[in-house]
């Protein structure tokens, strides 16, 4: 019994991180119609920067938030401005972001080599601490990531539904020219949104660095998880993404515990395929009219 509940709890906690990793791509795809594959490398890069900051300047990885989030916000904003300048269609944006992903990942490998890197325990007590509750262990690093994910997902959801900016984003996502007619500057909205999306990815990368050893090949391993969470959760649907993250987390973790770790990617990708084929608009998104 304990093993199962531990598996579920771990799955839920991991799910938070998965959701955080997927939010950036989901928002970008849903609101900006760009499938930004570079997000995977942003997560990775952020993880490495956090690692490096701890090694070179002894900065507490959680504090590193203050550094990476603004940096990646700017990167995201610049990226969107770049897309505005070159005006590509979806197909080309897929190729271009794929190329950027390759470049960044190779750069990371060139700079940091393919060896595993881990933030030292002195600076990263979170990695080993754990809170016990009801016979189940809640590893601190995962717990923090989960809480952060919930806060951000809920916060973003409120932002999108209650604030003027949120309404502007939704307007731009639905009909650019109409939004412009109502005084919204689609470009500015897109740039800010892209910055936000990238900072979420940066944050996810931070938690990755806190929670495990990192190596360049990690990024490709995230494809399955992130895409299944993104599709299952519904493009641009923040709460849906959070829910989907938890679902995928629990499914993958349960599979891992039951059939071994190799079964986890299998389960994740099967979820993705099922979602793509049968409910591409996501679990929580209501089917739109025609």
């Amino acid at each position: 019994m304990d093993l199962i509940s531990q598996g579920v709890v771990s799955g839920v906690l991991f799910g938070g991180l998965y959701a955080l990793m997927s939010l950036g791509l989901s928002l970008s795809w849903g609101a900006l119609k760009i499938i930004n594959l570079a997000h995977f490398s942003f997560i990775l890069l952020s993880a490495y920067i956090v690692y490096q900051l701890s090694v070179s300047y002894q900065i507490d990885p959680l504090l590193a938030m203050v550094v990476v989030v603004p940096i990646f916000f700017v990167i995201g904003a610049l990226m969107q401005m770049f897309f505005h300048a070159v005006d590509v269609d979806e197909f080309k944006s897929l190729i271009i972001t794929f190329g950027i992903f390759i470049i960044l990942q190779s750069l990371i490998q060139t700079v940091w080599s393919a060896d595993f890197r881990r933030i030292g325990i002195e600076l990263n007590p979170y990695a080993t601490q754990s809170i016990s509750f009801g016979g189940v262990a809640f590893p601190v690093s995962q717990l923090i990531a989960f809480v952060a994910a919930v806060l951000i997902a809920v916060g973003m959801s409120l932002l999108l539904s209650r604030t003027y900016f949120g309404k502007a984003v939704r307007a731009v996502a639905q009909d650019r020219s109409m939004a412009r007619a109502y005084g919204v500057d689609p470009r500015r909205v897109a740039v800010i949104l892209s910055g936000l999306a990238t900072s979420f990815s940066a944050l996810a990368g931070l938690f990755v660095a806190v929670g495990q050893s990192i190596f360049p090949g990690l990024a490709v391993g995230w494809f399955g998880i992130v895409f299944s969470v993104v599709i299952l959760g519904g493009l641009g649907n923040t709460l849906g993404t959070l829910t989907a993250g938890v679902v995928v987390g629990v499914a993958a973790n349960t599979a891992s515990v039951t059939w071994g770790p190799l079964s986890a990617p299998l389960v994740t990708f099967l979820i993705l395929i099922a979602a793509l084929l049968f409910r591409p608009e996501g679990l929580l998104t209501r089917r739109s009219v025609a």
Binding site: R287, S288, V289, A290
Partner: protein
């Protein structure tokens, strides 16, 4: 003799009822005008007839064949062609190639070689000979519409559905298009034209069917139909009769 029989066709999209039991027919050799206020379901009907949407209920018979649930390419193979309100040419191909592709498929299969020859005929017919080999992005709207027409004609249809082919044209272009439509008809093709430009509809149609809110409200000879109070009410609302 009726070429196309539409019986009680309905189509809804989520909560919106686009077609609410449409029954009508198109007789062989005629030009049928399909009119109605915006949102009355004209385009949806065209999409159902050409096989793009499957109706939720009802039946469509074409030349004594039940085409109700056939996919679009099989409907085309039987001899129904359509044009699009906003022209949709194949934009990596030239006009000549557009027509050639169309000729290769459609009602009768043709080879690549035959298509090269035949395309010229349709280019001449629609007056696009001069721009046959230029890029699509260099054509005017009027030319694009003619290309749309030529492409549909190249499938050698027996029934051609024209979806607002006059929209966006200036008066002289409209006159040219009306003349073109008459020439098409003279070749023995039955036409169903969806149009807003009333004078063209009146000039061309043998019969008119009026749709409103997904239903046929009136059908008959042009003068009769357009004078019918129900039709005026549909277009102008109840106030119209007082004006």
């Amino acid at each position: 003799m009726s070429l196309l029989e539409v019986t009680d066709v309905a189509k809804r999209f989520g909560g919106v009822v686009a077609l609410d039991g449409v029954t009508m027919r198109v007789d062989e050799g005629e030009i049928l005008g399909l009119v109605g206020p915006n949102g009355s379901g004209k385009s949806t009907l065209i999409n159902v007839l050409s096989g793009f949407y499957a109706g939720d209920q009802g039946r469509v018979d074409f030349a004594d064949t039940d085409v109700t649930s056939l996919p679009a390419n099989q409907v085309a193979a039987l001899g129904i062609a359509r044009t699009y309100q906003i022209p949709r040419p194949f934009d990596t191909m030239t006009p000549r190639e557009n027509i050639a592709v169309s000729y290769m498929f459609g009602q009768h299969r043709h080879s690549l070689a035959e298509a090269r020859e035949a395309a010229g005929e349709w280019l001449e017919f629609t007056g696009l000979g001069d721009v046959a080999d230029t890029g699509i992005n260099e054509l005017t709207l009027h030319q694009l519409k003619f290309l749309e027409l030529a492409r549909a004609l190249a499938t050698q249809p027996s029934l051609l559905l024209l979806d607002e082919v006059l929209a966006g044209l200036n008066p002289s272009e409209i006159n040219q298009s009306v003349e073109m439509i008459q020439r098409v008809h003279a070749r023995g093709i039955t036409l169903l034209i969806v149009e807003h430009v009333m004078r063209a509809v009146m000039a061309l149609s043998h019969r008119i069917v009026v749709l409103d809110q997904g239903k046929v409200i009136v059908e008959g000879e042009p003068e009769q139909v357009m004078a019918d109070p129900a039709v005026i009410r549909a277009y102008l609302g109840d106030r119209g009769l007082d004006a």
